[in-house]
Amino acid sequence: MARLRPAAQRLPAFGVAAALQWLALLLLLVAMAGLQITSLYGGIATGLAVLTALKLWEARSLAERRLVSLLQLVCIGLVAAQRPELAASLLQLAVTLLALAGLLALELGEGLGWRVLLRRSLQVVAAALPVALVLFLLVPRLAPFSTLPLARGAAAVVGLSEQLDPGGIAELAAVDAPAARVAFATGQPPPAQERYWRVLVHDRFDGRRWNRSAPPPLPRGDARELPGAPVALAGSTQLWVAAPSRIEALPWGGGGRPLGRELLLDPRGELLVRAPSDQRRVYGIADPQAASFWRTRPPSGADLALPLGSNPRLEALGASWARLPTPQQRLQAARDWFAAGGFSYTLQPGTLPDRAPFDAFLFERREGFCGHYASSLAALLRAAGVPARVVSGYHGGRWVMPLGGEGYLDLRQSDAHAWTELWLPDQGWVGVDPSSWIAPPGQSQPRRGSWGLADWLRQQWWGLDIAWTRVWLGFDRDSQQSLLRRLLGPLLPWLGPVLLLAIAVALAGSLSLMRWLQARSQGDPARRQLEQLLGLLARHDLVPEPGETLRRFAARVEERLPQLAPELQAFATLYQCQRFVPVGAGGAPAVSLRQLRRQRRALGRRLRRLSSGAAVGKAG
């Protein structure tokens, strides 16, 4: 039977250490919030955190307490693998510092306050960081050992829908949740008319709804885009940070080459992702101005399919344009027809009837939102014999320039938009936005609420986050290899010795700095101020004689440098007060160290002015 030890044997020396370890555990749990415990690594991290808590609860000996700190570090490492965002990383850093402070408290015994321990922890981490960075940058990364399964989770996040059914929506709610952020290598956003960010392609029409067909198999030529390819965000010209979404397609501009793990490009122009969807996704688009292969992929019969009889008046109108010789002319006819039709944009269009919904919209109601216009134009074009489909994604976005950071385009769910894509034989798939025919672009979008201070702060934070993302997630295996090639050049075969040398240099630097800081912080701080002042005066050959008091020495200095008299007198008085006047009721000395330091600096400045004046005088 296990024997319970009395509380008195609980080694009271662990007081501060235990407090720090509990605090670290608490923050660890906060850092783990939102972690998907059904995933492999999320599950391991959660299990380990529970074990850590239990161990901390029952730990009695030094060895057990040490183990708790180690478990906390391993745990936070597992969390860091899954939460690379800036805020999460800062929290992870805090847990690391606390865990180390707990470890230091265990070793250094009682007597040190938690502030001192945290400062020591920070010092130790700062000292170990150069070595860590050398290793991080220079040790060649290995490829993943094998493909472990990653569990998927469903994230219920507001966003686009795979099925577009404008007729079933009576009122469109303007949801201001973040959708994505884009940073551009040029530092400038693209022109407003080019800010169409495609996500889903709806190519199947059943007379009422536009659906998305299953992605066809990928062409062989694009095998390089398949998952497993390393990310090279650093070289990309567009950096995307997309909010979690239950849709497997990501927003992008439709041009260029996607760079990112688990990404693949669909022939319809959807950017698909195979990674779990409970986290935000970070990916890059290289060369975004270049045309992508999907634009020139010829349409199939499905892109002309129209359930006959579902919207007879629409079909008849479209058929009337089919007589025009070119698709461009048919498109122009449609544009003219919409422009002359007295259409208006509204977020409260009301539902459309089940039978012939688009007939009701086009010929009776004549008001709706982007989904109505894009859907009906695509149907009209199909009826006119032009391959067409509906694309949903985001339009516009707000350009945000955070303080001291790089600008980015902020896309919200309220920027969600739908437009039509049609096949022009000489241009390929071309996007057309019929909503812009109805009202100026600014008015075609749902208005979002006012931008307050909280929003401004959030923008600044996101600016930092996007910069962090670019640096932190951008540094991968490929980036490392290119960095090594750039840094070492022909010395690359000598990476091993270079690495050892760099570690030795970093370690020696850290240790020297630590010893210097330690030596500096030792001894009497007031005395240090005096010695610094004496050092300054010694440069002017003013050195105290053996047995000379501070007052007498000050008087001797004043004889030679009378300009220094007020400052020197003040310093001597402050120093003697600091030394000899008894402490006050609060336990603080009558003169604070800060006052003494300030006075010493003032004296230093005065001396420098005097010496520079003397130099000028001599030069003159």
């Binding site: 180690l70 070793e107 997630l473 030792q522």
Partner: protein, 304 residues
Amino acid sequence: MDFVRPQQGESLRLGLRNLYIVPTRFGWLWLAGLLLLQVVGTQLQSNGPLLLSFLMLGLFLLALHLTHFNLQGLELAVGESQPGFAGTLLAYPLRLRCRSRCEGLRFGFDTAATTAPRVFDRGDHALSVPWRPQARGLQQPGCLRLQTTAPLGLFVCWTRWQPAVPQLVWPAPVAGPVRQLQAARPRSVPLQVSGGERQEGSDDWRDLQPHRPEDGASRLAWKLLAQGRGRYAKRFVDPSDEEPLLAPDPAVPFERGLEHLSERICRLHARGLAYGLVLGEQRLPPGRGPAQRERALAALATCR
């Protein structure tokens, strides 16, 4: 880890030649933990665990030096020692000179537990390390082990030192019969062996003297006080020998006899009585007070 040859001498300066350092069990666990993070970071191609594992490796390398620095340059010397009884914990005095701040220092002789970790700032320090001598005489405390695992507990750095300065150890005080010789006075009658029980106890008093505060309440003549005759202190005199010369009881083994003498000397000293000592050729004239006690116990400690 005690396989290393201990350093000898009256003082010791710690340096690369006499300091030893190896990872602790926790240090090996630490390496295992960082290896695990490396695997996770590689598997997920994630920077967080990779950087953390490298940070842990950096801390490991740093701790190797920091732990060594705690002892490097430390100067050890033996201080002024005070004698004590065998079988009890004695304080062995040490002087430390630290060139820089030394953290988490633990001291311990083979015969006693290691002290709790202590921090020493730059400068000179005096400290005493407990040890438990088993025999009387001028004893050396054995091998001192000085170790530290600070700051992170990843490495243990230690040295072993055999301080050459012995400490005087008195025989352990054990109650038992001693031989009491008559005081070295002309009228003395020699050879009266006193057992543990006396024929006339020290409760018998012979005389009265005016009571002084230092006499205490136990010596106060309460009867006289109650009769209103003033405050008098009873003066106790051992009727059999007023200033006995103590010698080991020949009936018990010599070392045991010394232990009995040690206890008797302590008892007599505590009661403020005078006593002398006869140990073979060595004679200590009767006397009282701390100096007499020290002399007597030292004689016991060093006699052959």
